[in-house]
């Protein structure tokens, strides 16, 4: 008893156009969920839905953005249920965090040299995972995946200015988190 697989034009088209973006979507799912199993589930869900609704995809438009939107909706449906105010950045908390940061740290280049060279990938992954979701999304898409601002803006459904602002704040938060990790490990002193 074997299944008879008959490859249709639709399947060929999907394999040719959508499947090549699997890696980038997988990495995005991994960074958002910080869990390989959840990322695998998210990826499966995304591609099954993408294939099911392949007729809805407008040929010639940005396929990657379309796939990302499907993944984003799946992510929201599955993982945002427990969050109190899904999709919103707790800006009051972020502002308070900024106010407590010691900007009088040593020169930028020395700090990067001291902080970054001693940190492991796990530390960076953890720091990214701890970012507020809106900042995390833009940092992942820009700095990890190298997407242009316009594509990121289309994905997060915000103006370009908002993308830049979130990137700016996200990187700043990330820097402080990484510095904090390095401080706790003794790579950086408070002197």
């Amino acid at each position: 008893m074997t299944a008879l697989f008959k490859t249709s034009a639709k399947q060929h088209e999907f394999n040719r156009e959508a499947i090549p973006h699997m890696d980038i979507l997988y990495n995005y799912a991994l960074r958002m969920t910080n869990n390989k199993e959840d990322a695998s589930d998210l990826l499966q869900d995304t591609f099954l839905k993408a294939f099911r609704f392949w007729d809805k995809y407008e040929k010639g438009t940005n396929i990657r953005a379309w796939l990302f939107r499907i993944m984003k909706n799946s992510y929201i449906n599955r993982y945002r249920k427990e969050v109190k105010e899904p999709g919103k950045v707790a800006y009051d908390e972020v502002k308070e965090f900024y106010n407590t940061v010691r900007d009088e740290a040593s020169e930028a280049n020395d700090l990067q040299e001291t902080v970054f060279k001693n940190l492991f990938e796990d530390d960076v992954a953890k720091a990214i995972a701890e970012l507020p979701e809106d900042f995390r999304t833009v940092v992942i898409l820009c700095d990890l995946e190298g997407l242009p601002y316009e594509e990121i803006a289309e994905f997060v459904e915000c103006p370009l200015g908002t993308v830049r602002s979130r990137l700016h704040r996200g990187r700043k938060l990330l820097r402080e988190k990484l510095t904090d990790y390095a401080r706790r490990r003794g790579y950086v002193t408070n002197d």
């Binding site: 008893m1 074997t2 299944a3 008879l4 697989f5 008959k6 490859t7 249709s8 034009a9 639709k10 399947q11 999907f14 394999n15 499947i19 699997m22 890696d23 997988y26 990495n27 991994l30 199993e37 695998s40 589930d41 990826l43 499966q44 869900d45 591609f47 099954l48 839905k49 294939f51 099911r52 007729d55 020169e107 930028a108 280049n109 700090l111 990067q112 970054f116 940190l119 990938e121 960076v124 992954a125 990214i128 940092v139 820009c142 700095d143 990890l144 190298g146 242009p148 601002y149 200015g161 830049r164 602002s165 990137l167 700016h168 990187r171 700043k172 990330l174 820097r175 990484l178």
Partner: protein, 273 residues
Amino acid sequence: MECKFEEQICAAVDRCLPETEMASFLEHAQQCPPCRREFEMQGAVKSFIAKGMHRLAVPEDLRDCLHRQVLSSPPPSVFFGELFRRQFFRPALALGIIALVVIFYYVRPTSEPGIKQAGIGNIIEQSLANYFAVMNGTIEPQVKTSEAQIVKNFFEGKTGFEVLVPQIRECTLVGGVLNEASPGVPLAHVVYTDQDNRLLYLYQACWDNIDAKHLYLPDSVRSSLVRTKWYTETRADGHTIVLWLHGRTLCAAVAHMDKEELLACLQSDETLQ
């Protein structure tokens, strides 16, 4: 930091500024320590993330699984619509139908009605055969996940009957397989493992397809299902098969357990009525 160039820092780091604006910003940064520091720090963070974080490839088994799921989907009806509009298709189709009628009329099987070829189309034997095929890896799940909703989504719209993906006590969902007993007779298979890693396999078909032509049940099994909605059988080798009806869906569960243990696993509102 209050500087009119502050909002350009991010774009400068990402090299998204037009050439003239980039040049202006860099010239400004040389004279503005806060902007220069922020520019260098953001650049360092970006560079560190990009170099420090490895991009992972999709695991091979996940990639294969997704590929199989896409390939196993039935062709869309659009294909047949386009085919039907082709010039020579209709005459060829008419000739084909006539040929089939002739063949069926003159070359049909002469077996007496009521005698079923042992094993072929017998749901009990098929369930057992599939159980062993899953166990030895001949049949692999096309969708591998522990999330019931993903498996349900996989089957949705493809079978013509409701596919159950029940919560089975003390068992973990492994995945699902979709195929056909014969053209136009879809089958859904759902696979679980229990805490001792024993396989629990569910075979599902549409009750309307249970007839002499495609799939059949021995008369005693059929009458038990019609009367009581369920049937159990334990083989000498210790494998138990439990059949039940859920609406139009015929379900068959197979596991290497005794009857009481398998029934206890299956006891839930959704699976047994």
